[in-house]
């Protein structure tokens, strides 16, 4: 239960942090902020999904986390790390080609890593781990 509460606190702090960040942007939301907003919504959405799933498991008298959910987390972390290496290579290559600022480059890399993690978690969560 503590972990689930911590998850919701974390989601709320990320959400509030983003609101402050985007709120302080002069001229409101521009095209440049659209991509980070979408990524934040995806990541926050996943965290909320996991949080509510944990709550429903607890409500049914089951553990919030079990061996499969832990293995899925470990597997998706390792796979997303591996894919992220190639993603960073691509970001550096294209960053050089279209002369991106250093800050934007790092931001794009981090957001991309978040999206890759979400996608790999969803993949293993719905596909299962097979005979690994």
């Amino acid at each position: 239960m503590k972990k689930t509460i911590l998850l919701f606190v974390l989601v709320a702090s990320v959400f509030l942090g983003c609101l402050l960040w985007f709120g302080n942007e002069e001229g409101g939301f521009g095209h440049a902020e659209l991509l980070p907003i979408v990524v934040v919504i995806i990541v926050v959405g996943l965290a909320l999904f996991i949080g509510f799933r944990r709550l429903s498991s607890l409500h049914r008298g089951e553990p919030a986390e079990d061996e499969l959910s832990k293995k899925i987390l470990v597997k998706s972390s390792s796979v997303s790390y591996y894919i992220s290496l190639y993603f960073w290579l691509a970001v550096m290559y294209f960053g050089d080609k279209i002369s991106m600022e250093g800050q934007s480059l790092v931001g794009t890399g981090l957001l991309g890593m978040a999206v890759i993690f979400v996608l790999s978690w969803l993949y293993f969560n719905f596909r299962g781990l097979g005979n690994d």
Binding site: S57, R60, P63, L68, G128, L129
Partner: protein, 66 residues
């Protein structure tokens, strides 16, 4: 590796939710186990076999890889 969890669950007249609560895992884990999309840990395999009062090798069928 395949398993006979679905058969034994039906034999004992248990729902997936009941079985999940008895072996202390989430219902989704039972769903994946029955679809052969997850190989359980030795502890979970042992807990399931003990619950159905059968040896592990009766519940889980190991197939030789070609």
């Amino acid at each position: 590796m395949t398993n006979k969890i679905r058969e034994y669950r039906a034999k004992y007249n248990l729902t997936q939710e009941d079985l999940a609560q008895k072996v202390k895992v989430r219902r989704e884990t039972i769903v994946f186990l029955e679809k052969n999309k997850y190989n359980p840990s030795l502890k979970l395999a042992y807990d399931l076999a003990r619950l159905f009062s059968v040896p592990i090798e009766e519940l889980f069928v190991f197939e030789e890889e070609e």
